[in-house]
C-alpha cells in the first residue's frame, strides 16, 4: 500500500529533518509515530502528500511514486490521501457541511463546487459521516462556532469524505482534553479499521498510542529507532526514543476507555481516563 524508501528532507535553513526514512505499510493498520518534539514526525507525514517537498527518496502509494508526480497527477494522488490536523484546519466561515463536502473537491467540477451542488451520493455520505462522528444535526453550524473536539470530528469527516486509500494524521488530539482525546482517537482508529484504510498517525501521548495503534514507530532526530508492536514498547525503547527519564509509569498497562463504538459528544467518561492520559508528557 505505502512504501517509503530512503526519504530525506533538508529544509532551506540547512536543517536535516529526515535522514533516510524507510518503512512499509502493507496492511490496513494504524501506525502511530511517536518521538520527541522536532524529531521530524510532521515533516515525515507531510512529505507523503508533499505539503512538504522531500529532498530525496521515494514514496510509493499503491505503486505510484508520489515524489515524481507533476501538478495534475499530484492533485489526483492527494485526493486519495485524507489528512487530519492538530489545529483541525477547518475553513472557519463555512458550515460544517461545506467543510465536509470540501473533502470531495478533488472529485467534483468547479461549478458544482462553486454552487455547492454536490452529487447525491456525496451529500448522503456527508450526512452519514456526520452521524458517525457524533455531530448529527450540526450540518448548518458554522465551523467557528464549534468546540475543539467538535472541530476535530468535522476534520475527521472531511478526510474520510475523500474515501482515502491512506490517512495522514498529525497529532489529532494534542489540543484536546484527555477524555475528548480518547474519543477522537477511537473514532479515527475505528473508522480506519472499518474501511480498511491504513493510517500514519503522529502522537505525543504514548499511552494513547499504545492502547489504540496496531503498530508503533519511534522517530528520533529524523531516523527510525523503533518499529514494532505496541506491546514491545518497553522502558528501554522509550529511553532510546525520548532519552533518559523515569518511564515506569508510562509503560504500565494503559486502561483502555469504555470501548463502545458510540461517540456522542455529551457522553460521560470514567474518572480513570484523566489519570492514565495525564502521564504522557
Amino acid at each position: 500500500m505505502l512504501t517509503i524508501t530512503d526519504l530525506t528532507k533538508q529544509y532551506p535553513t540547512g536543517l536535516k529533518a529526515l535522514h533516510g526514512i524507510s518503512l512499509t505499510v502493507d496492511e490496513p493498520q494504524v501506525v502511530a509515530i511517536i518521538g520527541p518534539s522536532g524529531a521530524g514526525k510532521s515533516t515525515l507525514i507531510r512529505c507523503v502528500n508533499r505539503l512538504v517537498e522531500p529532498t530525496s527518496g521515494s514514496v510509493l502509494l499503491d505503486g505510484t511514486d508520489i515524489t515524481k508526480l507533476g501538478r495534475g497527477p499530484l492533485r489526483r494522488a492527494r485526493r486519495r490521501m485524507g489528512m487530519i490536523f492538530q489545529e483541525y484546519n477547518l475553513v472557519d466561515r463555512l458550515t460544517v457541511m461545506e467543510n465536509l463536502l470540501s473533502g470531495r473537491l478533488g472529485y467534483v467540477g468547479f461549478w458544482r463546487a462553486f454552487r455547492r451542488n454536490y452529487p447525491a451520493a456525496d451529500v448522503q455520505a456527508a450526512y452519514a459521516l456526520l452521524d458517525r462522528v457524533g455531530l448529527h444535526g450540526y450540518e448548518n453550524t458554522r465551523a467557528d462556532a464549534l468546540s475543539g473536539g467538535q472541530r476535530q470530528r468535522v476534520g475527521i469527516g472531511r478526510a474520510l469524505m475523500q474515501q482515502p486509500d491512506l490517512l495522514l494524521v498529525d497529532e489529532p488530539t494534542a489540543s484536546l482534553d484527555p477524555k475528548t482525546s480518547r474519543q477522537i482517537m477511537r473514532i479515527i482508529v475505528e473508522l480506519a479499521h472499518e474501511r480498511g484504510t491504513p493510517a500514519l498517525l503522529n502522537i505525543h501521548d504514548v499511552p494513547l498510542a499504545r492502547s489504540h495503534a496496531d503498530r508503533i514507530i519511534g522517530l528520533t532526530a529524523g531516523a527510525i529507532v523503533f518499529d514494532g508492536k505496541p506491546d514491545d514498547l518497553n522502558e528501554a525503547v522509550l529511553t532510546e526514543i525520548y532519552g533518559e527519564e523515569d518511564w515506569s509509569k508510562t509503560v504500565g498497562r494503559d486502561d483502555d476507555d469504555d470501548g463502545g463504538g458510540n461517540a456522542a459528544p455529551g457522553r460521560s467518561g470514567r474518572p480513570g481516563d484523566l489519570d492514565s492520559a495525564a502521564v504522557a508528557g
Partner: protein
C-alpha cells in the same frame, strides 16, 4: 504554610526606558527641541500678507452669502455625473481588485507575479488622485472619462492592497487542508480563500464607494468631470454664491455617503 521571606530582594522596579543610554536620551531631547525651534523659525510669517488675506477672505465670504441655488440644474447635472463616476469606478475597482489582490498576496502568487502586482500597487499609491487625474485629462481630454479612470485606478490600488494583506495574514491551516484534499487552484480559491475574505472585501468596497464619492468632487477640479469641474468653473467666474451652494451640497452628499457606508459596514459584521 508561610511564604518564604523575600526581604533580600530589591523592593522597587522601573520599566526599562525606550532609550537605555541616558546620554543618548538627553541627546534625543535636545535634538527634538532644536528641530521645533528651527521649524518655527522657517515659517517666515509675513504679517502684511496675512492681513491682506483676511481682507480678501472677508470679501470672498461676503460675496458667498447668501448661497444661490438658482442654477440648480447645473448643480444637479454635476452631481449626477459625480455620482455616476463614483458608482462606475467602485464597480470596476471592485472587480479588478480581485485579480490584482490575489496576485499581490505573497502566499498565493509566484514570486514574479507577486512583484509585478505589488509594483502596480506601490506606483498607483504613490501618486495622489489629483496627479493621476491630470495625466488622464492630458490623455483623454476634459470630462468624466478621465475622472472615472482616475477613481478606478485609486480603487483598485486601495482594495487590492488591503485584500492582499488580508490573504497574507490568513492562518495557513485551512489553506493547507483544502490543498491536501487535492483541490485545483480555482476550487482552492473558492473554498479556502473566498469565505475568509468575503466580509472584509465587501466592507472595503463599500468604504471605497464612499471614498469615491468624496474624491469624485476633487478630481473634477483638474477638469476630470463631475461637480468638481462645476465648482472650479464657478470660482473662475467669481460666482461665489453659487460656489457656496455647491460646497454645501457636497457636504450633504459626503455626509449621506458616509452614513450609508457606515450603516452597511455595520450590518456586514
Amino acid at each position: 504554610m508561610s511564604a518564604p521571606s523575600t526581604e533580600s530582594y530589591p523592593a522597587t522596579w522601573k520599566p526599562p526606558g525606550l532609550i537605555a543610554n541616558p546620554l543618548m536620551q538627553r541627546g534625543v531631547v535636545a535634538l527634538t527641541v532644536l528641530y521645533i525651534l528651527w521649524s518655527i523659525g522657517s515659517l517666515e510669517i509675513d504679517w502684511s500678507r496675512i492681513a491682506q488675506g483676511f481682507d480678501r477672505a472677508g470679501n470672498l465670504f461676503g460675496r458667498m452669502f447668501p448661497p444661490s441655488f438658482e442654477r440648480w440644474e447645473l448643480l444637479l447635472k454635476g452631481f449626477r455625473e459625480s455620482l455616476q463616476m463614483a458608482l462606475a469606478a467602485s464597480f470596476f475597482g471592485m472587480v479588478l481588485a480581485i485579480p490584482v489582490g490575489l496576485c499581490a498576496a505573497r502566499n498565493l502568487a509566484p514570486r514574479p507575479v507577486y512583484l509585478v502586482a505589488r509594483g502596480i500597487i506601490v506606483i498607483t499609491r504613490t501618486f495622489h488622485e489629483v496627479i493621476i487625474a491630470i495625466i488622464f485629462v492630458k490623455i483623454f481630454g476634459f470630462g468624466p472619462l478621465a475622472g472615472v479612470l482616475t477613481l478606478i485606478v485609486a480603487s483598485v490600488s486601495f482594495i487590492s492592497k488591503m485584500l492582499a494583506e488580508d490573504i497574507e495574514n490568513m492562518t495557513p491551516g485551512a489553506m493547507e487542508a483544502v490543498r491536501a484534499t487535492g483541490a485545483s487552484f480555482p476550487k482552492f480559491l473558492i473554498y479556502a480563500i473566498t469565505p475568509q475574505i468575503m466580509p472584509r472585501y465587501l466592507g472595503l468596497s463599500i468604504y471605497r464607494l464612499d471614498a469615491n464619492i468624496r474624491h469624485s468632487t476633487v478630481v473634477g477640479i483638474v477638469g476630470a468631470g463631475g461637480i468638481g469641474q462645476v465648482l472650479q468653473a464657478s470660482f473662475n467666474r467669481y460666482d461665489y454664491d453659487f460656489s457656496l451652494a455647491i460646497l454645501i451640497s457636497i457636504v450633504a452628499l459626503v455626509f449621506i455617503g458616509e452614513f450609508f457606508s457606515a450603516w452597511i459596514r455595520g450590518r456586514l459584521r
